[in-house]
C-alpha cells in the first residue's frame, strides 16, 4: 500500500486526501495550525462549496464537510504537526507538542497554500506601529478570537479579498474609511465593486501610501499621494493589507525544490510533480490565489496523477513568462505525464488588450489568440490544444499589446 504524506490541510490537501484514501493509499495529513481547514475555516461568509457540494456554504461549514469526507475515506489528519525538514528518502521531520517525530512516506503532496503579501514584501514606507494586519490575520483575529485590532481602518488593495476585509470589518463593528488602490482602476471587475459604493466607502485609485504615522505605538495617520502628486492625510487607526497573494513556499524552498520566481511557488509539470520526483504540489502553493473550489479540484487531480505513479519524466519542455506575462504554470511540460493540471494557468502583469502567443525556441507558434485581461484575471490555454510533440523548449508566452 502506497503511503502518502500530505502537508497542509486546506481545500487542496483535504481534497487530495479523500481521493488517495478512497483509492486505498495510507494517507496522513499534517497541519501545522491547531485546526485543519486552511483559510476557509476563518471565513464566516459565503460562498463556498458550489463546485464541490453543489450548494452554498459558509467557510466553516465547508471546512467541516471537507474534513469529514477525508476522514470517512480513511485519511488521518494530524493538527499541530509542523514539518521542519524533508530530507532525502524522503525522511520528513515533524515537530509535535509531544516531541519530534520522523515519517518516511513513499510520496509527499505539498499543499501549504498562499498568504497575502506582508508590509515588508510590499516595501511600504513609514513607521511600524500596531494596527497593520492582512485580511487573513484580521479574519483570524475577529472570527476565531473576537479580537479587534482597530476601529477605523483603511483598506489597501482592491482584489476580491478586499471585499472580504470590508465585510469582516463591518461584522466586527469597525468602519473602513477608504479603499486605496495603486493602479488606475479597481482590480476587481466593476460590477463586483458595489460593496464599498453601497457602504459609502470611497475608492481611491492611483493612490499610494507615502507615510505611516504612529502615536504611542499605534497607527494614527496615513499619508497618501495620488498620481497628480496631491498629498492627503487620513486619520485612521488601522491598515488592512489585502491581496497580493503569494505561495506559502517556505517549506518548498527549505527542502530545495526548484522555485519559479514568477509564481513564487515550486516549479511543477502538468502532473503536479516538482523538481524532486517524490514530491508533488497542488493548490495555492502553485501560484498565489485561486478559489477554494479550484484548489480542491486541483488537489484531487494531482492526487490521481500521484497514484498513477509514473516514472519521473525524461523529456521535459520548460515554459516561461515573457513580455507582459506575470506567470505561467505549470512551468514544465512532459509529453507523457498524467495530466492533473489540464491548462496553462496565466496571469498578466498589467491590464492589456492584445495577442497572447506561445512560441517555441525554434520560433514556431504553438498558440496565439486575441485577449483582453487585467492583473488577477484568470487566463488559460488548454494543453490538449497544443501540439507538443515537435516543440523545441523552452516555450515562451508573451503578450503583445494592440
Amino acid at each position: 500500500m502506497i503511503q502518502v504524506l500530505i502537508i497542509g490541510a486546506g481545500p487542496a490537501g483535504l481534497g487530495a486526501a479523500a481521493v488517495l484514501a478512497q483509492a486505498g493509499a495510507q494517507v496522513t495529513v499534517v497541519e501545522r495550525q491547531s485546526q485543519a481547514g486552511g483559510v476557509p475555516r476563518l471565513c464566516g461568509h459565503s460562498p463556498f462549496g458550489m463546485r464541490e457540494f453543489h450548494r452554498l456554504m459558509t467557510g466553516q461549514t465547508y471546512t467541516h464537510r471537507l474534513i469529514a469526507e477525508a476522514v470517512a475515506a480513511g485519511a488521518r489528519i494530524l493538527p499541530d504537526h509542523a514539518v521542519t525538514a524533508i530530507e532525502s528518502g524522503p525522511t520528513v521531520r515533524v515537530a509535535t507538542p509531544q516531541g519530534e517525530i520522523t515519517l518516511t512516506p513513499d510520496r509527499i503532496l505539498l499543499a501549504t497554500g498562499a498568504r497575502e503579501a506582508s508590509r515588508a514584501e510590499r516595501l511600504l514606507p513609514g513607521e511600524r506601529p500596531l494596527g497593520i494586519v492582512t485580511t487573513g490575520a484580521l479574519q483570524d483575529l475577529w472570527f476565531a478570537r473576537k479580537v479587534l485590532p482597530f476601529r477605523r481602518p483603511v483598506i489597501l488593495g482592491s482584489e476580491l479579498v478586499a471585499m472580504s476585509a470590508i465585510l469582516t470589518c463591518r461584522q466586527a463593528g469597525a468602519r473602513p474609511l477608504a479603499v486605496i488602490e495603486s493602479s488606475d482602476r479597481p482590480v476587481l471587475p466593476a460590477p463586483l465593486c458595489w460593496l464599498p459604493k453601497v457602504l459609502g466607502i470611497p475608492m481611491l485609485c492611483t493612490t499610494r501610501i507615502e507615510d505611516i504615522v504612529a502615536k504611542d505605538g499605534r497607527l494614527c495617520q496615513l499619508v497618501l499621494r495620488n498620481a497628480a502628486g496631491h498629498v492627503t492625510q487620513i486619520d485612521c487607526d488601522g491598515l488592512v493589507l489585502t491581496g497580493s497573494f503569494r505561495p506559502e513556499s517556505g517549506l518548498a524552498r527549505l527542502c530545495g525544490l526548484e522555485i519559479d520566481p514568477a509564481t513564487g511557488g515550486p516549479v511543477v509539470d502538468q502532473s503536479g510533480r516538482t523538481s524532486r520526483p517524490e514530491i508533488f504540489a497542488a493548490g495555492n502553493l502553485l501560484r498565489g490565489i485561486e478559489t477554494a473550489g479550484r484548489c480542491w479540484a486541483e488537489g484531487r487531480a494531482v492526487a490521481q496523477a500521484l497514484l498513477a505513479d509514473l516514472p519521473p519524466a525524461v523529456l521535459e519542455i520548460s515554459v516561461r513568462a515573457g513580455q507582459g506575462v506575470r506567470y505561467v504554470m505549470p512551468q514544465r511540460l512532459t509529453p507523457d505525464a498524467r495530466v492533473a493540471l489540464p491548462a496553462l494557468q496565466i496571469r498578466l502583469d498589467r491590464r492589456a488588450r492584445g495577442t497572447l502567443t506561445l512560441t517555441d525556441a525554434a520560433g514556431r507558434r504553438l498558440a496565439s489568440f486575441q485577449t483582453a485581461s487585467a492583473p488577477e484575471r484568470r487566463l488559460t490555454i488548454s494543453l490538449a490544444d497544443l501540439r507538443l510533440q515537435d516543440a523545441v523548449g523552452p516555450l515562451t508566452l508573451a503578450m503583445e499589446q494592440d
Partner: protein
Amino acid sequence: MERFDVAVIGAGVTGVATARRLALQGWRVILLEKGADILSGASKANSALLHTGFDAPEGSLELRCMQQGYAEYTEIAASMNLPVLKTGAMVVAWTDAQEAALPEILRAAQRNGVADVRMITPTEIAAIEPQLSPDARAAVLVPGEYVIDPWSPFHGYARQILATGSKIWRKAEVIAGRFDGQHWALETTAGNCLARHVVNCAGLFGDRIDALLLGRTDFTIKPRKGQFVVFDKAAGRLLHSIVLPVPDARTKGVVLTPTIFGNLLVGPTAEETEDRSRATVTRTELQMLLDRAVALLPALRDMPVTATYAGLRPATEFKEYRIRHEPDCNWVTVGGIRSTGLTASLGIARHVADLLGAGQDAMPVAAPQMPNLAEHLSRDWQSAGYGEIVCHCELVTRREIEAALSGPFPAGDFGGLKRRTRCAMGRCQGFNCMGRIAELTRGRLCPDIAVTP
C-alpha cells in the same frame, strides 16, 4: 522617596550594560527607561555585529571600549547561553580606488592589535563565498568579526540587575531633576527617586537630558537614520560571512551579513534626519538596498523579503564618543554612541564604573540562562511539552511566549515580546499568528494589540 547610589537614564544597550556593571559592583542602581520596554530606541535596530575594532580610530576611547566589550562578551556569552556565530568578515573592494585603500585598512587593523587580519585574493574570496559577485577585486579578511543576537544579552543583563536588588523602571521618562550637592532628586513619569550619581545614557535624547538636568551640554544629537532589509531564511545559505564595504569618511557603509536567526541582512543606509523618534522606512532607500544586495550577491534576485526596518543612530557633530565626567555634580554623560555601541557596551560600562570609582565585583550573581533564539542551535520547539507552535515562520512556541510574558522582567510591549521571542518576525509577518498572539497577550502588553470594542 526611594534612594539609590546611581540613576542610569536610558535603557538602550549602553544604559543596560552600564547599570549591570554598577549593580554587579555593589551599587544600588535605578535604571530609568521612558519606553514601555528596554531597547526600544536606537538599540532596537542595529546590524547585530560583534566588531573587533579593526577599523576604529587608533588610540581612541571607542577602540578601547570596543575591545574590552568584545573580550567580556566572548567570555560571558557561553555562561549565559548566548549564541555567537563565528562568521568572520571580509572588507571587499569592488573598484580600483577601494582596492588601493585595502593595504591601509590592513595596517590600521594591525596597529589596533587585530593581528589575524590578512589580504585575500578573488580566488580565496570565491572559495569562502561562492555566491558573491565575481567582481570582487580583493579583500581584507577579519576572522574575529562575529554575528550575535542583538537583544538577548541585554535581557540577560536586565535579569542580573534585578537579581542584585537594583531596579528597572519602564515608562519612566525623566522630566525634572535637581542636585543638592549630595544627591540628585529625579522626577519621572513613573515616580520620583533620589540618587547620588546620574549616568546619562539617553541615546537620541542625550543632549536634551544634559540640558534639562545640568543646564549645559557639549554636543548636539544629529540623528542618522539606517534602514535595513531582511531576506528570507532560504537566503541564509547563500552567505557565510559578513561582507563589509570599504568605508568612507562618514559611515561604515552598507553591510551584507547573515543574522543569528538564519536570515540575511542588508543595511544600513546613513541618512541625516531631524526627527529623533520617527524611524521610517522609505521606498527609494529600501529599493536601493535591495539593488545593492543583488549586485553583491546575485542569487538574492529571486529571494523574498522578510522584513524591513529602520533605526536612528545617536550621532553627534563629532566623530568620537562623547563620554564626559562632571565630578562636581556626580554626573557622567555617555553620548554619541553610534554603530559600535552594541560591541562597546560592556567596555563603556567598565569605563563609566572606573570614572565613578565603583570598585570591583561585589555582588555574586548567577549567570541567567537565556532562551536560545539562534537558528544554528537547539530551539525550544525541539523539546517536548511546548504546547503549540504559535509563530510558524520563526517556530516560536507558546511556552516561549508565556515565559516572555511572565517572570521578573516580562515584555512591556509588542516590540519587547518580538525581541524576546521573535514571534511575528518571520516571512509572513503575522499573517498566520497575529490572532493567537493577540489572544495570548491580552491585557499583558501596553499598548494591547486589541482595541477595546
